[in-house]
């Protein structure tokens, strides 16, 4: 089970699109997983043949659990890999596949404590693996362990100070508690003060804990649940409630942890829009670009030029990202939002960035993001201009350290030398994390956006 979002702990397998014996390639959609926020299509990271599906449809499993065994091409059998390979079977608590004579734990791994992918993730986040408690076999550090170490106080739909009425408990743990008849008030939370699934004692009669029906509403919970997690809702309303709770949790964490600052600038974009109109005039409809993609492009370039704002706040220090993974806020019809990621957005030519934007926005709105769309962003952009708002002063998505906002394109009075006229303009805002930077860096970022927008070399 891949991690499909910063806050994800477990996911429910809702669909297999491959069967044993199928040949799969890197990037193929092989399964669909339901998370708190949406259903996400899981892509394969390997070329090979599906050996066996390990998780039946309808089963909820924690992040890190293997979903299937894939035999790599040309090896003739042994050393099966889990899907996705960041969580190979060797690094997870799942039993080794019986039909494989010896499933060696990470055969060529340089260290017994983590797989290369986990190691790389830790490196990228600036974590010392030796300091991370491992939950895998033999104390191996799994991807989930790294994530937990990066973001110890996981956002939850509850206020920071726990009280008897509002317990810090994950939704999955709450459901487990109800199913096993355990009162959440009597449970002991883990080290971070949050009750998780592992803190729930087993039921008196062993229940197939890994297979609760995905939408079963808890019946007569022993204690009133918090207002953010109502029970007995219909499936649709439940999904929407879960999304609201997930958004609230992340933003509450943002408000709690991040000392925000805000800077803004009015950008004149008359010449830019004129140029765009020229490009679009010659282009067939599918190749046309929207103004928003220019703003995203400029923001991605600015993130590369101002690396202090492109990265993550991890364990009291800023860890710069090695590329610009641009989070894009997509508001959904009917409420809520998703923030898919466009990887290496600063390196994409405009037409490709446009195609990526259409892709992620379309998939977000149709409720079928792909696992690659959920990669961790290094900086996020919200373009509220489409709604008519003139500017947006947003909250940072932790563990990122900056958020870029764009308002509506508005004609404003504009002084050009001593001449006054009206020009199309847009208000760009930068929300920064004072732990990492000061307002002057945010100002520099906005200045770079302005420069990029007016640089003819940036154009196709």
């Amino acid at each position: 089970m891949p991690s499909l979002g910063a806050d994800m702990e477990s996911g429910t397998l809702v669909e297999w699109t491959v069967s044993p014996g199928d040949r799969v390639h890197r990037g193929d959609l092989v399964a669909a997983v339901e998370t708190e926020k949406s259903v996400i299509d899981v892509e394969c990271f390997e070329d090979g043949v599906v050996e066996r599906l390990l998780v039946p449809v309808g089963t909820t499993v924690p992040v890190g659990a293997p979903l299937a065994l894939i035999t790599p091409d040309g090896t003739g059998g042994p050393s099966p890999e889990a899907v996705p390979p960041e969580t190979p079977a060797a690094a997870t608590p799942a039993p080794p596949p019986p039909e494989v004579a010896h499933a060696p734990p990470t055969p060529a791994a340089p260290s017994p404590r983590a797989t290369p992918l986990v190691r790389r993730l830790a490196e990228r986040l600036g974590l010392d693996l030796a300091a991370v408690p491992g939950s895998g076999p033999g104390g191996a550090v799994t991807r989930a362990d790294v994530r937990a170490a990066v973001a110890p106080p996981r956002p939850l739909p509850s206020p920071p100070s726990p009280s008897p009425a509002r317990l810090r408990i994950t939704p999955y743990a709450r459901r487990l508690a109800v199913e096993r008849g355990a009162s959440p008030q009597c449970l002991t939370p883990g080290g971070d003060g949050v009750i998780r699934a592992r803190d729930i004692p087993p039921a008196p009669e062993p229940t197939p804990a890994a297979a609760p029906p995905p939408e079963s509403p808890p019946e007569s919970p022993p204690e009133p649940p918090p207002a953010t997690a109502p029970t007995g809702a219909t499936a649709g309303a439940g999904a929407s409630e879960r999304m609201r709770a997930a958004i609230a949790a992340r933003m509450t964490r943002s408000m709690r942890e991040i000392p925000h600052y805000h800077v803004d600038a009015v950008l004149e974009i008359g010449a830019v829009l004129e140029r765009l109109r020229e490009v679009n005039r010659r282009a067939p409809v599918p190749d046309r670009m929207v103004p928003a993609v220019l703003l995203l492009h400029a923001a991605a370039r600015a993130a590369r030029q101002v690396p202090e704002l492109n990265g993550h706040w991890v364990d009291g220090a800023f860890v710069p990202a090695t590329s610009v993974a641009l989070g894009v806020v997509v508001s959904l019809r009917g409420g809520g939002l998703l923030v898919p990621t466009i990887p290496a957005a600063d390196e994409l030519p405009l037409p490709e960035l446009m195609a990526s934007l259409r892709g992620v926005a379309g998939r977000a709105r149709s409720g079928r993001l792909r696992s690659s769309d959920t990669a961790p962003a290094s900086i996020t952009v919200t373009d509220l201009g489409e709604t008519g708002a003139h500017s947006v002063h947003g909250l940072i998505f932790p563990p990122e350290v900056a958020l870029v906002g764009f308002g509506a394109v508005v004609r404003r009075p504009w002084a050009d030398g001593d001449l006054l006229g009206t020009r199309p303009t847009v208000v760009a805002t930068l929300t920064g994390d004072h732990r990492a930077t000061d307002g002057i860096v945010g100002g520099r970022f906005l200045h770079v956006i302005d420069t990029v927008l007016h640089d003819p070399e940036e154009w196709p």
Partner: protein, 86 residues
């Protein structure tokens, strides 16, 4: 791909394209003279997808300069009917 021949047909085609982008009660309640982007809360990507579908399903060329004529179902139908027979 068939260009609409009557105004009523054109309105049906416009609504069918909108239904691909923003199905739901808002579309059902949309009057022919309502501003489509406002009422259905279409952003620029949605509108582009609407134009793309409309152009593909009718075979009519729709330039950016024509976008203002797609403001309502009624005005879009007039535009399509006028462009269709050519």
């Amino acid at each position: 791909m068939t260009a609409p021949t009557t105004d009523e047909h054109a309105r049906t085609v416009v609504r069918a394209s909108l239904a691909r982008i923003a199905p739901g009660p808002e579309l059902d309640a949309l009057a022919d003279t309502d501003d489509v982007r406002d009422r259905l809360e279409l952003d620029s990507l949605d509108f582009l997808a609407f134009v793309e579908h409309l152009a593909r399903s009718t075979g009519i060329r729709i330039d950016e300069d024509d976008y203002p004529r797609l403001r309502t179902v009624a005005s879009a139908a007039v535009f399509l009917a006028a462009a269709g027979p050519s």
